[in-house]
Amino acid sequence: MARNVDALYIFLLIVTGMMTLLVFSFLLFFAARFRHRPGVRAEQIEGSTALEITWSAIPFLIFMVIFAWGAVVYFKERTPPADAAEIYVVAKQWMWKLEHAEGQREINELHVPVGRDVKLIMTSQDVIHSFFIPAFRIKQDVLPGRYTVEWFRATKPGVYHLFCAEYCGTQHSGMVGDIVVMEPAQYEAWMNGASGGPLSATGEKIFAELGCSTCHRSDIQGRGPNLHGVFGKPVQLEDGRTVTADENYLRECILEPGGKRIKGFQPIMPTFQGLVTEEQVNALVAYIKSISTAKPGEAAKTSASATAPKVEEKVQAHGSQVQ
C-alpha cells in the first residue's frame, strides 16, 4: 500500500515540479527580459482566448489523471480483503486498546505478522480519534457510535509508529504507540503466550449472560430473529428498506434496537446503550459473525452453500492458532 501511495506521490512531485518549473521560469524570464528600461514602453496585449483554453484544458486533463489515479489508490486503501485477520480497536482519551480475534489484548501496541492482511475494526469510547500508521500510509478517523475500518499488509519486520492524528484533547500527542511487525514464526510464539480464548467465545459468553439467547434462538423461531447466518446478508427492515447486516448494523441493533428493526418482529428488544462496554459490543459482534456462514460482500454474489466450506476452514484455522 505504501508503495502505491509513494508511486502516486512521486508522479505528483514530477508533475507539479514541472508545472512549478514552467511557471517560475516564465516568471523569472519575463521579469528579467522585460524589466523597465528607459524609453521602452510596454506593449499592450488584450489576451488570447486560444491560450486561455489551452492553459485551462491541459491542466484539467492532468488533474483528471491525478484524480483517477488517486481514486484507484483510495479504493484499494478502503477495501479490506475478505479474508483479512480482524483486530478490534477501541480508542479512548488517550490510549489505543486493541483486541485480536484470537483473544490477545494489547494497549498502544499492535503485534502483527509479516505478509498477512490485517483489518482493523475501530470505534471510540469518547471523542473522535484517528488511527495513523505513517509507514503504511494509512489513516482513518475513529468515531464514537460506529465502526470504521482500515487495513494493511506489513511487508517488512520492524517497529513502526502509531499516532492519533485527530486532535482529541490534553494528551493527544501522548496517544502514540508502536506497530510491531514480526516474522510469522515469532508471531506464533508471541501469540501462544495468549490467554482468554478467542474474542467470539467471549462474545458467546456475554450473549448468554445478557440473556440474548432467550429471544435470538437458533433451534426454534424465537421472539427475535435467528442470528445464525445473518452476518453479511441483506435483511429487510420493517420500513421496507433492505440493508446489509454488517458490523455497523449489528452494533446499531445492540445499542439502538428500535432504529432498524427487521421486518416481522415486534419492537420489544431493550437498548443495551450504557449497559455494555465497547469491548463487549465488539465481542458480541465477533460472536454473531462467527455463527454466520458468509463473509460480507460474498453473500450478495454467491450462494451461501458455495462459500460455506471456505469459511469453516477459516474458523478452524483460527481455532488452531489459539489452542
Binding site: 521579469a31 485551462s56 484524480f67 481514486a71 471523542v127 509508529h161 486532535y167 484533547g169 493527544h172 439502538e256
Partner: protein, 556 residues
C-alpha cells in the same frame, strides 16, 4: 493633472484625516476611509497577538519534549492562534481595510451604500474581538479552531460558548461588510463604469462578498448548535443520543472551506492591480480573471468535504468531492497563467509592492500545487492531519493572503496616509518575509510526509522530527522580523515620510485621481468613466494629458 504632482503644499490641504479631530470624530465616523483605518488598527492588534501565539508554538516545538508550556496551554495556544488569525485577522484583513478604503473610490462613489452599517460592522467586530480577548485571558479554548464535536460539545471544559459567541458576533460584521460591498458595487458605480471596466480588485471583492453573505450564516448556525448541544444535550452531534459527529464537520466546513476563498480572493485582486501597474500593462485576459473569481466563489461551496476524506464518509462521496476539488483548481491556475502572461512585453518596475506580488505568485503557486496532492484521495489519506496540511494552508493563507495584504498596504499606503514609505526598507522587508516564510513552512511539508501529526505538543516518541522543526522555528523568527519591520516604518512614515503625490505610481484607476490623502467624499464631482480598466498605454503615452484629466474632476 501633471501640475498637481509631487509638490508638497506648505499648507496642508483638507482631507479625510485632518477634517475633524478628536476621538468621537473617529468613533462615530461614517467615512469608509476612516472606518478602514479603524479596522487597520484593530486587525493589526490581533495579528500581533496571533503572531505571538505562533511564536510560542514554534518555541515549544524546538525540542521534542514538552518543556516550555503545559500540554493544555499548548493546545490553547494553537487554538487561539487559529481563531484569532482566521476570524479576527485574515477574514477582515483585505476586505475590511483595503476593500473598505478602495471599493467606493475605485468605482467612483462617495462612500459605501450603507455608511452606518459599515460603522456597525466595525463595532460588531470590536465586540467580538473584546469577547475573544476576555475568553483568552480567562482561560481560553482548547478544541482547535475547528471545534470538532463531540470533543467541543461533550468533553472539553474550556470556554467554548464564549469563543463561539465571539466568532458569531464577528461573523455578522463579515456579513454586513459583504452586503455593503454587493449593494455598493451594483448600485453606486459612476457613470460609464460598466462591469467590464471595473478593476479586477472589485471583481475579487464582489466574489468574496457573495461567499461572506452565503457562507457565514452557516457557521453561525453551527455555533448555535454547539452551544445548544452543550447547554441542553439535544443530541445533534452525540451518537449516544442518536446524533452524528460527522454532521458537525459537514456544517463547519461548508463555511470554513469557502472562508479560505474569503481570505485569498481579495489578495488575488490586490495582486492583479499591482502586476498591471508595475508592468505598465493592461492585465492579460481581463474577463478570464474576472470570471475565474466568480467560478472560485461558486465551486468553493462544493468542495467542503475534501477535509473529511478519512472522517468516515462513504468512498463515493469522497470521489465526488475529490473531483470537484480539481475543478476549483482550474480557475486558480487560470489566474496564475494570466498574471504571468501580463508580464510578457511589459516594462517591469521592482518597487516593494511588486516584490510582494512576486512573492505571492511563488508562494501561492506552491500552495496551490500542494493542494493537488491533498485532493488526490490516495495521498490525502496519508498526509491529512499532518504538517503537510499545515504547510499547505499556510502557503495559501500566509504566503498568499498575507503577502497580498502587505503588497496592497505598500501600494496604497501613499493614498491612505498621504506619505511615502521608505522604499529601501520596504524591499528589504519583502525579502525577509519571503525567506523567513519559506524557511518556516517548507520544512513542514517534509515533516508531514514523514508523518508528523498536527497539534502535537510533544514529539519525544519520534525525535527524528527535530531537525526540521528547528529549521521551522528559525524561519519563524526571521518571519517575525519581516512582519515587524513594515509596522515600524509605516508608523515612522506617518510622521517623517515624504508627502505623497496624488498618483506616485502613475497608476490607472479612479482611486489615483483623488488627492493623497483623499477628501471626505473622495471626488469633488462624480467622475465619468470613458476608458477601459488598466489603460496604461494612455497613461504612459507621451501626450498623456489628453482625455482623462478633463473629464475627471479631481477633488482638491
Amino acid at each position: 493633472m501633471s501640475m498637481d504632482i509631487a509638490i508638497p503644499q506648505p499648507v496642508e490641504r483638507e482631507n479625510y484625516l485632518n477634517k475633524k479631530y478628536g476621538v468621537w470624530s473617529w468613533l462615530l465616523t461614517t467615512d469608509h476611509k476612516r472606518i478602514a483605518l479603524l479596522y487597520l488598527l484593530s486587525i493589526t492588534f490581533f495579528f500581533f497577538i496571533g503572531g505571538f501565539f505562533a511564536l510560542l508554538i514554534r518555541l515549544e516545538l524546538l525540542t521534542p519534549a514538552g518543556d516550555l508550556v503545559q500540554a493544555d496551554t499548548y493546545n490553547k495556544l494553537f487554538t487561539m492562534h487559529g481563531m484569532v488569525m482566521v476570524f479576527f485577522f485574515l477574514i477582515p484583513s483585505i476586505p475590511a481595510v483595503l476593500g473598505n478604503f478602495l471599493v467606493p473610490m475605485m468605482i467612483g462613489a462617495k462612500d459605501l451604500a450603507f455608511p452606518r452599517v459599515n460603522l456597525l460592522s466595525w463595532y460588531l467586530y470590536v465586540i467580538g474581538g473584546v469577547l475573544m480577548l476576555h475568553c483568552m485571558l480567562t482561560g481560553g479554548v482548547d478544541t482547535g479552531w475547528t471545534f470538532y464535536a463531540p470533543y467541543s460539545t461533550n468533553f472539553t471544559n474550556t470556554k467554548i460558548v464564549e469563543a463561539g459567541l465571539a466568532i458569531f458576533i464577528a461573523g455578522f460584521s463579515s456579513i454586513l461588510t459583504g452586503l455593503n460591498f454587493v449593494v455598493t458595487i451594483h448600485r453606486m458605480r459612476a457613470p460609464g463604469m460598466t462591469w467590464s471596466r471595473l478593476p479586477l480588485f472589485i471583481w475579487a471583492h464582489y466574489a468574496t462578498s457573495i461567499i461572506q453573505l452565503l457562507g457565514t450564516p452557516v457557521v453561525a448556525v453551527t455555533i448555535v448548535l454547539v452551544a445548544a448541544e452543550r447547554a441542553l444535550h439535544l443530541g445533534i452531534f452525540d451518537p449516544k443520543l442518536g446524533g452524528d459527529p460527522l454532521l458537525f464537520q459537514h456544517l463547519f466546513w461548508f463555511y470554513s472551506h469557502p472562508a479560505v476563498y474569503i481570505m485569498i480572493l481579495p489578495s488575488m485582486g490586490v495582486v492583479t492591480e499591482i502586476i498591471a501597474c508595475f508592468s505598465r500593462k493592461r492585465i492579460f485576459g481581463y474577463s478570464f480573471i474576472a470570471f475565474s473569481s466568480i467560478a472560485i466563489a461558486v465551486f468553493g461551496f462544493l468542495v467542503w468535504a475534501h477535509h473529511m476524506f478519512v472522517a468516515g464518509m462513504s468512498v463515493y462521496a469522497a470521489l465526488v468531492f475529490s473531483l470537484l476539488s480539481y475543478a476549483v483548481a482550474v480557475p486558480s491556475a487560470i489566474k496564475v497563467f494570466n498574471w504571468t502572461a501580463t508580464l510578457y512585453k511589459g516594462s517591469i518596475h521592482y518597487d516593494a509592492p511588486m516584490l510582494y506580488a512576486f512573492g505571492f505568485l511563488g508562494l501561492f503557486t506552491i500552495g496551490g500545487l500542494t493542494g493537488l496532492f491533498l485532493s488526490a484521495l490516495g495521498i490525502n489519506v496519508h498526509v491529512t492531519d499532518t504538517y503537510f496540511v499545515v504547510a499547505h494552508f499556510h502557503y495559501i493563507m500566509v504566503g498568499g493572503a498575507v503577502m497580498g495584504y502587505l503588497g496592497g498596504m505598500h501600494f496604497w499606503w501613499p493614498k491612505i496616509s498621504g506619505r511615502l514609505y521608505p522604499e529601501g526598507w520596504a524591499r528589504l522587508a519583502a525579502l525577509i518575509v519571503f525567506i523567513g516564510f519559506n524557511l518556516t513552512f517548507f520544512p513542514q511539508f517534509l515533516l508531514g510526509y514523514m508523518g508528523m501529526p498536527r497539534r502535537y505538543y510533544d514529539y519525544s516518541h519520534m525525535p527524528e522530527f527535530q531537525v526540521l522543526n528547528v529549521l521551522s522555528t528559525a524561519g519563524a523568527t526571521v518571519l517575525g522580523v519581516g512582519y515587524l519591520l513594515p509596522m515600524v516604518y509605516f508608523l515612522w512614515s506617518m510622521r517623517y515620510g515624504k508627502p505623497a503625490p496624488d498618483n506616485p505610481w502613475n497608476a490607472a484607476g479612479l482611486e489615483w485621481m483623488t488627492a493623497s490623502p483623499p477628501t471626505t467624499f473622495n471626488f469633488e464631482e462624480e467622475p465619468v468613466v470613458t476608458w477601459e480598466a488598466y489603460n496604461y498605454e494612455e497613461l504612459d503615452s507621451p501626450d498623456k494629458d489628453a482625455p482623462r484629466s478633463q473629464e475627471v474632476p479631481v477633488a482638491r
